[in-house]
């Protein structure tokens, strides 16, 4: 987000809670995401009125109604496109896109990849529950092969998208992943996303308690999470496991799970996370790790600097305006007249 920092020191979570009853199912992971965003926003030093939440259609996309900020619940799949216009017209706002795996990756896939490619300074939070919730349980572009749903009674045969992987292929300047059940981690990631200048793409693994309950259990469950989550920290070697006894090492171009101490493996042998690497090679490698062979990377995969689109647009305009001189009635008249005129008397 851009915009000056105003006197917003006194904002609290409460300021971001709207008067609308929250209408998600009991146990839905969306509640946690709402709560974390409401907690993080007051800390960012942005005046409340500068926030605008734009969403598409889906359970997740009801989000803006619950935020006491400016909000626009648009149409299915188009949040990124609407937000692109809003942010390009109004770079002073902090514009957040709330979308689902269906909204953002199925019908809205094109707008998403183009918004990321352009590096529009949007904070895109994709609630990935690997299902269409609002339409009552069809498979989505992130559903796993073999998934039985209302529209795939014999099991899905489609290879799913990996959202962070796809975002990286669009040259995303900020890519992260977090989990509905990990409030602290989510807050950290959201804060980082908010502070990034340029597009920030955040995938949140979100449980749909009604149509896809337990979809992420194998990595989020308390009992396995230490084994199954690889917490990324910039500049730190990649360790995981209950006591941090495991790690990731590279063998040529293939990452490998190793146990520290075994076969003489020391921390120095491990891959070190570098979210700021100019090339996305490491981030791409990380994006592909996951259950069952690897732990699933959680945290910021990539964060690099690049001029946001919306700022570039307005800098160019300002530059031209500066050199062309003030725009007044005379300039307008000149514009209307064009180059070649003649008089009739």
């Amino acid at each position: 987000m851009s915009g000056q920092v105003a006197e917003s020191a006194t904002l609290t979570k409460k300021d971001f809670v709207s008067d609308q009853e929250v209408r998600w199912c009991p146990g839905c992971g969306d509640y946690s995401i709402l709560s974390q965003i409401q907690k993080v926003l007051p800390e960012l030093g942005v005046p409340k009125e500068r926030y605008a939440f734009v969403s598409g259609i889906g359970c997740s996309s009801r989000f803006p109604y619950y935020m006491n900020t400016y909000g626009f619940h648009t149409i299915h799949g188009r949040a990124a496109a609407v937000a692109t216009g809003l942010k390009t017209a109004r770079p002073d706002l902090s514009v957040w896109v709330i979308t689902g795996d269906g909204d953002g990756l199925s019908i809205g896939g094109n707008h998403l990849i183009h918004a990321i490619r352009r590096n529009i300074d949007l904070k895109i939070v994709l609630f990935n529950n690997r299902i269409y919730g609002l339409t009552k349980g069809q498979f989505s572009p992130t559903s796993e092969v073999g998934k039985i749903t209302k529209s795939t009674p014999y099991g899905s045969i489609e290879e799913p998208f990996n959202p962070v992987f796809l975002a990286l292929a669009c040259n995303a300047t900020f890519v992260a992943r977090t989990i509905d059940r990990e409030p602290k981690h989510m807050q950290q990631v959201l804060r980082r996303a908010a502070e990034h200048k340029g597009v920030a793409f955040v995938e949140v693994l979100q449980n749909c308690s009604v149509f896809n309950d337990g979809a992420f259990e194998n990595i989020t469950d308390k009992k396995v999470k230490k084994e199954q989550q690889l917490l990324l920290e910039h500049g730190r070697p990649m360790r995981f496991g209950p006591g941090g006894e495991k790690g990731i090492r590279m063998r040529d171009l293939t990452p490998e799970v190793v146990t520290l101490g075994e076969g003489g493996i020391a921390e120095d042998d491990l891959l070190v996370h570098d979210e700021a690497a100019p090339e996305p090679t490491l981030a791409l490698l990380l994006a592909r790790l996951g259950f069952p062979v690897y732990p699933t990377p959680i945290g910021v995969l990539r964060a690099v600097d690049s001029m946001p689109y919306d700022r570039a647009v307005h800098e160019k305009i300002a530059e031209i305006q500066k050199s062309a001189g003030p725009v007044g009635d005379a300039a307008m008249q000149e514009l209307l007249s064009g180059r070649a005129t003649w008089d009739v008397e």
């Binding site: 709207s18 609308q20 005046p47 409340k48 009125e49 500068r50 605008a52 734009v54 259609i57 803006p64 109604y65 935020m67 006491n68 900020t69 400016y70 909000g71 626009f72 619940h73 648009t74 149409i75 188009r78 496109a81 609407v82 937000a83 692109t84 216009g85 809003l86 942010k87 390009t88 017209a89 109004r90 002073d92 706002l93 094109n110 707008h111 183009h114 647009v313 160019k316 305009i317 031209i320 305006q321 062309a324 725009v327 009635d329 300039a331 307008m332 008249q333 514009l335 209307l336 007249s337 064009g338 180059r339 070649a340 005129t341 003649w342 008089d343 009739v344 008397e345």
Partner: protein, 612 residues
């Protein structure tokens, strides 16, 4: 030597050649020269959908027709006084509209046997008698051009590309057009390529001199300046006028202009034009598709911009879902549809008026949107300005229909005084204490435009139905009825602000012609002719297609016969019959070109005998 000079009221000529021959540019320069000479003009650029269809073939012919006169010019002309044929295909494609005894200027260098065959001639038309009824003037343009620049050491393909200037110079001589505007233009265009500028200017002048010195024409023609209103003029195309209308409306409303658009023929030039106007704070966003084009504009409108999106038929279809959102969310937005031939990709470079149904009725749900249409290239400015005004005043999307003919066609435009353009009011709300998203303007029923960034006015909008009082999502039946009624009433009220409908001719009687959009010119021309013949008919030209003017029903009922000529299969006719207790006669022509005056004249003759 001296030639006679023959005075004429108006002349129609057409430049025709390969897509690569620069005919559009040549025609445009001739037009500008004519306008600057004080004539009224109307043009009809007519080119294939391919960039460069195979050289020498009929498919590759690109034409540019211009009608200029000392009288009011309403159409690009039914028939040609003169045809410039840069090759056999250009000749063949246009011979049928050349007047008997009309002039043909042809480039002999292009009449090699191979070219003749490519055009589909079995024999050289110069020898088969088919041109006997015309005045044929044969010029080896390539040779003359080469001679003009022989000392410059240019390579021959560059020289070949100047031959259109030879034709232009020659025609300027024949019709006494000034060369200066073209020379100025060449100088600007090739500013960084001095050699090219010089070559083109030399060839242009060579063409002019050739007319002067070679005894190829029996006489020159003079078309006196038209009696236009006094003032300063420029030549303008419909697409340019739309762009300028938008910039002017932005300046006069104080809302920054945002265009979200995806290129499509024949609308792309509006994007091109506006992309150049960053000085005026214009933001242009070339979106990934038409849906993103309209959605980004919706986002910008939400953020407080005067937002517009521009497209043509197929792109308009893609925008229909998002237009429903703009209606529901009550955001100001102007959608410009530069119509072209359909269905589907259809005839991308040809004109048509067949998107009227789509504009007025083509959305899911009960989703009324006001629709207005421009009637001439320069009128696109006024129509766009008005569309922006309605959008801002009523807080709703407005559709502006133009078409391929208006978009590319040019005419003289009496440049308005910017300072005299009406100020455009907006509903931007500043005072948080009194803000409520459902508090409507008593007159227009517009909601306040509460812009993100304003402290204390945080609120949510969206595409689900909302409560009429609170603005919260609401699924209740009676509320939905009220909201639906409200959306209709909001649009219906726009008609209160229309000026009384103008009737050209008698206010009641036998035949009334009702037209809309670009058929204006053809209808005007036909009516003027028919009056000359002593048949007086009424004419109403509609700017507002939805809602229709409140006084229209009464006007219609005052005539025995209502005739609706349209470049579609009867779309306005259908809307009129649905709205008023009237049966109308249709005159429908979908041939990818404007109506000929003669076609409308024939219909007038047919139907004016129908009084009961």
């Amino acid at each position: 030597m001296t030639q006679t000079v023959q005075p004429l009221e108006s002349v129609t000529i057409r430049f025709a050649g390969d897509s690569g021959d620069g005919m559009q540019l040549t025609g445009t320069q001739f037009t500008n020269a004519s306008a600057i000479a004080g004539n009224d003009v109307a043009t009809f650029p007519d080119y294939p959908a391919e960039i460069r269809a195979p050289a020498g073939t009929l498919a590759g012919v690109s034409g540019f027709q211009v009608n200029f006169g000392s009288v009011d010019i309403h159409t690009p002309g039914d028939e040609l006084d003169a045809l410039v044929a840069m090759n056999p295909a250009g000749l063949k494609a246009n011979l049928d509209i050349l007047k008997p005894n009309g002039v043909i200027v042809l480039n002999t260098a292009a009449f090699k046997a191979a070219n003749v065959a490519k055009a589909g001639y079995t024999e050289d038309p110069r020898g088969d008698g088919s041109l006997d009824a015309f005045q044929v003037v044969e010029v080896d343009m390539n040779k003359l051009a080469a001679a003009a620049v022989s000392d410059m050491g240019l390579n021959s393909s560059v020289v070949g590309r100047t031959k259109n200037m030879l034709a232009l110079g020659l025609m300027c001589w024949l019709y006494e057009r000034p060369l200066e505007p073209t020379i100025d233009w060449i100088t600007r265009k090739f500013a960084s390529k001095g050699e090219l500028a010089e070559a083109n200017i030399r060839v242009l002048k060579a063409g002019h001199s050739y007319g002067e010195t070679a005894e190829i024409f029996h006489s020159r023609f003079r078309v006196e300046p038209a009696k236009l209103s006094t003032g300063t003029y420029r030549s303008i195309t419909g697409n340019q006028a739309v762009a300028l209308g938008a910039v002017a409306a932005s300046a006069r409303s104080g809302r920054p202009l945002f265009l979200g658009s995806y290129p499509i023929t024949p609308a792309s030039d509006i994007l091109h034009e506006l992309a150049a106007h960053k000085r005026f704070g214009v933001v242009t966003f070339q979106a990934e598709d038409e849906i993103a084009g309209v959605c980004s504009s919706i986002g910008a409108a939400y953020g407080g911009s005067l937002a517009i999106t521009t497209t043509s038929g197929p792109g308009m279809a893609l925008k229909s879902e998002a237009l429903g959102l703009a209606v529901k969310a009550e955001l100001p937005l102007v959608i410009v549809n530069v119509q072209r031939g359909g269905p589907s990709t259809g005839l991308p470079t040809k004109t048509e008026q067949s998107d009227l149904f789509q504009a007025v009725l083509g959305r899911n749900g009960d989703t009324p949107i006001p629709v207005i249409a421009a009637r001439s290239p320069s009128d696109c400015f006024d129509a766009m300005y008005e569309a922006c005004g309605i959008a801002l005043e009523y807080m709703m999307p407005v559709i502006l229909l133009t078409d391929g003919y208006l978009a590319n066609g040019a005419e003289p435009w009496l440049i308005p005084n910017f300072g005299e353009l009406p100020q455009l009011a907006t509903h931007v709300w500043k005072d948080a204490d009194t803000f409520h998203q459902c508090k409507r303007d008593a007159d227009t029923l517009a909601r306040p435009w509460g812009l993100p960034g304003t402290p204390g006015m945080e609120h949510r909008i969206g595409g689900l139905e909302t409560d009429i009082e609170t603005g919260n999502v609401a699924y209740g039946g009676p509320n939905h009825q009220e909201m639906t009624d409200l959306r209709h009433e909001r649009v219906a009220r726009i008609a209160r602000s229309y000026a009384p409908t103008e009737i050209d001719g008698p206010g009641r009687g036998g035949l009334l012609i009702v037209s809309w959009g670009s058929t204006y010119g053809s209808v005007r021309a036909a009516i003027e002719s028919s009056r000359g013949d002593g048949i007086d008919v009424g004419h109403v030209h509609l700017r507002h297609l939805s809602p229709l003017p409140r006084d229209l029903g009464e006007i219609l009922s005052g005539f025995d016969t209502v005739l609706v000529p349209e470049m579609n299969m009867g779309q306005l006719a259908f809307l009129l019959q649905a709205t008023y207790p009237v049966r109308v006669k249709r005159l429908n022509r979908v041939e990818g070109r404007p109506f000929k005056r003669s076609e409308i004249l024939a219909a007038i003759r047919e139907h004016s005998g129908e009084e009961r």
